[in-house]
């Protein structure tokens, strides 16, 4: 009996350790836009989020969205890539280069996360870098963004985030203060003008003409491809009995 309990305990510990150390693949770079180092870093960051919250982030690029719309492609890919029964909570961020779409598909807790956000949050996070061709940066920012939604920063982390801005602001206040003190010294300076000696209301205009001469016209083509669209509304669908929700845009 004692031996059985010992073996059972050991088996439990091994299984628990194995479960805790479970490593998922989070990056699916079919378009080949990431270097090995970049992909590795994104894997680590997404895995860290998974370890801490159980929320599964998948980052995907493709050159072939199979003629589907961004929503259908993303829902289908997500459903096929990761077992919805075992990993019910998560989000997939897909970049489709053939149609220049990006899309975020979510399920489980991910849907709740999406619905509580401003409609153009995603665009604010990723669109600038996508338009600039910085795909790694866009995906890294997406992971950070989701991490922040799931794990609110501690007061100390929040303070450290804002520390550079507060430091610069403090120095600006200090500079203004020192300049005010300086303005009270060495005041012996020439007067620039004679405004104090103008007789009040003495300005008398005797001639006032505004003559139109000519005009110049410039035409600038409106750039549409680099502007992108600021993300669509929230859409939802179902794959194999699993509910999905998502939104995306063009870059």
């Amino acid at each position: 009996m004692k031996r059985f309990l010992l073996i059972a305990s050991l088996a439990f510990l091994v299984l628990t350790a194995a479960a805790q150390a479970e490593t998922l693949r989070h990056v699916s770079d079919l378009a080949g836009k990431l270097s090995a180092g970049e992909a590795s870093q994104l894997e680590q960051q997404a895995q860290e989020v998974y370890d801490k919250t159980g929320f599964d982030i998948i980052l995907h690029t493709t050159n072939d969205s199979q003629g589907k719309g961004p929503m259908d492609y993303s829902f289908d890919y997500y459903h096929a890539f990761r077992d919805a029964g075992r990993y019910p909570d998560g989000a997939l961020f897909a970049i489709m280069f053939d149609t220049r779409d990006y899309y975020e598909a979510a399920r489980g807790r991910g849907i709740a996360l999406l619905t509580h956000r401003e409609s153009n949050d995603l665009a604010n996070v990723v669109q600038g870098k996508l338009s600039d061709g910085d795909y790694y940066g866009a995906m890294r920012d997406y992971v950070r963004y989701v991490r922040r939604l799931l794990i609110p920063p501690t007061p100390m982390e929040r303070t450290m985030e804002l520390a550079p801005f507060i430091g610069v602001g403090g120095l600006v206040v200090g500079l203004v203060y020192a300049l005010i003190l300086k303005s009270k010294l060495n005041t012996a300076k020439f007067k620039r003008e004679a405004g104090q000696y103008i007789v009040p209301n003495s300005l008398n205009l005797t001639d006032s003409q505004d003559i139109y001469l000519y005009q110049t016209v410039t035409r600038t083509k409106i750039q549409t491809s680099s502007g992108g669209s600021r993300g669509g509304g929230f859409s939802s669908g179902s794959r194999g009995g699993t509910s999905y929700g998502g939104r995306g845009g063009k870059f």
Binding site: I166, V173, K189, Y197, T218
Partner: protein, 365 residues
């Protein structure tokens, strides 16, 4: 035989008349103009040519024989400054170099001041202002704050000024643009309209003072402006009693340039404010003529205090009427950056603490 050439208001190249279009065309920049517009532009440019005239009439009344008998004008034997005082003063010290002077028996005639503003600030008040100044200023170099602050010299001085009065008759032209944009298909169309703007008119200046003493630094005297001329009284030699006074050793003609510089800036600014509704306005020409300009000699009350630190003399001046103070004492760079950093770090520390507390309370997420 002279020829008349019209120049393009845009690029300055000669314009040709296009008989078919009945327009003036520029062969250089390609702009076209209505002949009536060109006529108006030419008229404005010709109107203002040779208009400028910045001269002031002066009132230079000599002392009467009786006043000369009561007023003493003399040159400092040490520094050469021209000074005058009342007849009762037989010995004084130079207001500028501090050398003791015995007033000679023979006096040169000088310009008689029209008005004088009496001192309202007494010596004790002036000394207190001087000492308070160094206590209150945080960037004063340490040499002024260590040990006792010795007044090397304190002088009650009537400083000579010319008061300039006149009407600035101004003619200004500017180039202005307006911009409008609209979308046309796949293009943004931006239209910039160019205008020639003319303003003409008058602006009155009254009692603009210019320091008439060569020995007084204009930076010092202008920094303690303004003086209230409503308090001025007619000059009589007795008003000099108990004070030193400096004779005007700069003529109104020598002071005109300073007055004109200030009048021009204020006139330009006043007329510029009448131009509105443009995206950009660039001054093109400014012609000012002084009408009825006059310069009147007056004496203004000034306390001059000097203090010596590390063998350097620093001047401290107080408007003897209003109590306005100025000085050429420098500021300390080390204290400037020290104050900037201490205030900056203090504000930053308070900001970080506030963010930490607000984050802890859930106000900042």
């Amino acid at each position: 035989m002279s020829t008349l050439t019209y120049k393009c208001p845009s690029c300055g190249a000669p314009l040709n008349y296009d008989g078919r279009q009945q327009e003036m065309t520029c062969g250089s920049c390609g702009n076209t103009f209505d002949p009536e517009t060109i006529r108006a532009v030419n008229e404005i440019q010709q109107k203002d040519e040779g208009f400028e005239d910045l001269r002031w009439e002066t009132k230079e009344e000599e002392f009467s024989q009786q006043e000369l008998n009561e007023t003493r004008t003399y040159s400092c034997s040490s520094c050469g400054a021209q000074l005058f005082t009342d007849e009762t003063t037989v010995a004084t010290e130079c207001a500028f170099c501090g050398s003791p002077s015995v007033i000679p028996a023979q006096f040169a005639p000088g310009t008689r001041p029209e008005k004088i503003i009496p001192f309202l600030i007494e010596k004790e008040q002036a000394e207190k202002m001087f000492r308070d100044y160094f206590k209150q200023r945080k960037l004063i170099p340490n040499i002024f704050q260590k040990g006792t602050l010795q007044i090397e010299e304190i002088r009650k001085l009537y400083a000579p000024f010319w008061l300039f009065n006149g009407v600035a008759d101004a003619r200004m032209t500017y180039r202005g643009t307006t911009v409008s944009s609209h979308r046309s298909g796949q293009y943004m169309v931006r239209t910039t309209r160019h205008f020639l703007i003319r303003r003409a008119g008058t602006l009155d200046f009254k009692d603009l003072p210019v320091d008439a003493s060569e020995r007084l630094d204009n930076k010092i005297t202008e920094s303690i402006e303004p003086f209230r001329n409503a308090d001025a009284v007619d000059f009589i030699p007795q008003t000099l009693s108990g004070a030193q006074a400096h004779r005007a050793d700069l003529s109104p003609q020598q002071c005109e340039e300073r007055a004109n510089t200030r009048v021009r800036v204020s006139t330009d600014e006043a007329f510029r404010r009448t131009v509105g509704g443009y995206v950009s306005v660039v001054p093109e020409s400014s012609n000012i003529r002084i009408e009825g300009g006059s310069a009147e000699p007056v004496l203004y009350p000034v306390w001059l205090i000097t203090t010596r630190k590390q063998d350097k003399l620093y001047t401290f001046a107080i408007n003897g009427q209003t109590g306005d103070v100025t000085t050429d004492v420098p500021w300390s760079r080390a204290k400037f950056f020290g104050r900037m950093l201490s205030m900056g770090l203090g504000v930053a520390a308070a900001g970080l603490l506030a963010v930490y507390l607000l984050s802890s309370m859930g106000v900042i997420r």
